[in-house]
Symmetry: C2
């Protein structure tokens, strides 16, 4: 097959795939009930627990993309008619609200303009208005590049008002600290292809004791059989009961990617992520395309850069791809023509990639 | 990473992966909106249409396993309260009924004992009893090795009574004829890792005009955002609107596997599948482990073999795996201790694999 050119992937994910991970991906195909794959799941669970910083028994990698993780978390926690509060500060918060509504929840939204984050007291005020089963929140908003701070305080407030906290960690896990147990996050999910730097196709997810209790108390079955976490638990551990035909290659690749991350060490990976992001931010300032998000809650893995006046952001993006094989992304929604989204995630977060992008951007902006 | 041993995969899928497909799998990772990936989708759609023998515009490969294809088909076609008839002649028929029920359908089941199939008049009698929106049926029942014959006549009956026909082709597509348009099947889905012989992780699906009209007439949103086919259509074609982060490697691999299948030609692949199955069946007869399903509707890709009296089927299966690196599977449900399930699918369907299995079984049964 004639492959597309190898790209320098500096968009919002997928990130680049380490050669060891690509090699793992094409390891020997084995069956979904092969004892070797079941052993691999046990290893993968332990690696995922270290990355999520949790001891949660229910920690899996679902056979789907990050969106399947979002849908799984909501579908297992929500029953039709449940009151759900979604704090929306970007596209993925809005997606959480949409999926919750499709599942029949009574969804209330609180919103922050694109590029802002929530203060604890705003969320607390919303929680006070009525009893919610669940508060859903995006930790690292891929559409804006903002990090929602104060997660531990928000979890504490949610619990005080009887709500569970569901945290989207798609763009944070492996790139900035995610402390599921310390912060008392009840459920969280992520994606394999961002800071974990494995191929897309698996969605890490973790459910803590309160979230599991909510699942156990359901009066109705989880509407999705495919994403039913009880069925995952029965397949990954215990009886190893057949549920679906998982892809051994994707699991080899995720295990290898997690191994590489933990060989480096989470703290070192976070420091590398920040150091490379700071190189990028300084360069963008010099180019007149400064970061859109204030430093206090700017995400190292995903930067929104303001498009200089008079520049067509889409033409520049297309030339970066076609002439330099560098992928970056457009803005979302109201930011579509105003920012570029530049990812430095996992194996993409390297000084040489920052340099190549800045050099290319400099030439294109001078044209 | 230390890989498990390479297995000879003769279970119900995954089948073995052709070296060209493994090589494709580890091609360069590209983004989910990269024009090269969007071009690949167009090629993949055409290849899938040829394999499904359809001109349906809505022909995709979903980012999930075959079970996600089953759930997608049902979730897009069913609204809560809809009357659905499921014809159950094995485990996967029962799974169809379970997923339909989770989606809120009023599910009626008609059943055939394991190892049997339906006659058209039985299905017609059930359709006559009340109006159904949908009739769901498994074409090749992986749990028993039976091929449901008469699909065109069943489709005709379903339409006469105002019902759509949904056909599970997980174990038939690419292994025996599946003629979506000629048979007037309204919706069908499959899996990448069986007769198509790609890695697990993608679910081919096709929706015809009647099925699309039913989706267009919905009064409620599809309960699954992840599996909403309108969102797939907007992502794969037209606006190429972001929906999820697909795995470029899985798509390279599926395109390569479909290319290999169509280079051989569907009719040649079906003939090879049958010829190798007949070698297997003859050998099993000689070993005193004859096929469970009568020849008239016995599936070449998946054989259930009767375990000889006095033999522990699970011990033999474990020794095949551990001593010979050959995977076969147990029976399902009531057949658990009575049959082995032996797959000859895609790249696994080769004379040397049949021979290795028969030789190993001969030794183990003599022990």
């Amino acid at each position: 097959m004639n492959f597309p050119p190898a790209r320098i992937l500096l968009g919002p994910g997928p990130s680049m795939t380490h050669p060891r991970v690509l090699q793992a991906l094409s390891g020997p195909t084995i069956g979904h009930l092969d004892p070797c794959l079941l052993d691999l799941y046990a290893r993968e669970q332990n690696l995922l627990r270290r990355v999520f910083q949790t001891e949660n028994e229910w920690t899996f990698a679902l056979s789907g993309t990050g969106t399947s993780g979002m849908e799984a978390a909501l579908a297992n926690l929500i029953e039709a008619g449940d009151a759900v509060l979604v704090a929306v500060h970007g596209y993925f918060g809005a997606r959480l609200a949409e999926i919750a509504a499709r599942l029949g929840a009574q969804v209330d939204r609180i919103e922050r303009p694109l590029g802002e984050i929530f203060e604890v007291d705003e969320i607390e005020a919303a929680l006070r208005r009525k009893p919610y089963k669940l508060l859903a929140l995006v930790h690292a908003e891929t559409s804006t590049g903002a990090e929602q701070l104060h997660v531990a305080e928000i979890a504490e407030a949610a619990h005080r008002y009887g709500a569970l906290l569901l945290l989207d960690t798609v763009t944070s896990l492996g790139g900035i600290p995610v402390k599921v147990d310390e912060w008392q996050v009840d459920a969280a999910y992520s994606a394999s292809q961002k800071n974990l730097s494995a191929p897309a196709g698996l969605a890490p997810i973790t459910f803590g004791p309160r979230a599991r209790a909510a699942v156990a108390r359901r009066r109705t079955p989880v509407p999705s059989f495919y994403l039913d976490l009880n069925l995952y638990a029965d397949y990954w551990s215990g009886a190893h009961a057949y549920h679906h035909t998982a892809s051994s290659g994707l699991h080899y690749a995720l295990v290898e990617a997690l191994t590489i991350l933990l060989e480096e060490g989470l703290e070192s990976a976070f420091a590398r992520s920040r150091a490379n992001a700071e190189r990028l931010w300084a360069g963008l300032e010099q180019l007149g395309a400064p970061p859109f998000i204030p430093p206090a809650y700017r995400l190292p893995p995903l930067t929104t850069a303001c498009v200089p006046a008079g520049v067509d952001p889409h033409a520049v993006r297309a030339r970066l791809l076609n002439e330099y094989d560098i992928e970056i992304a457009s803005g979302f929604g109201a930011l579509k023509d105003k920012v570029w989204r530049i990812g430095l995630m996992g194996y993409s977060s390297r000084p040489e990639n920052v340099q190549k992008l800045l050099e290319a951007l400099k030439k294109l902006l001078a044209d």
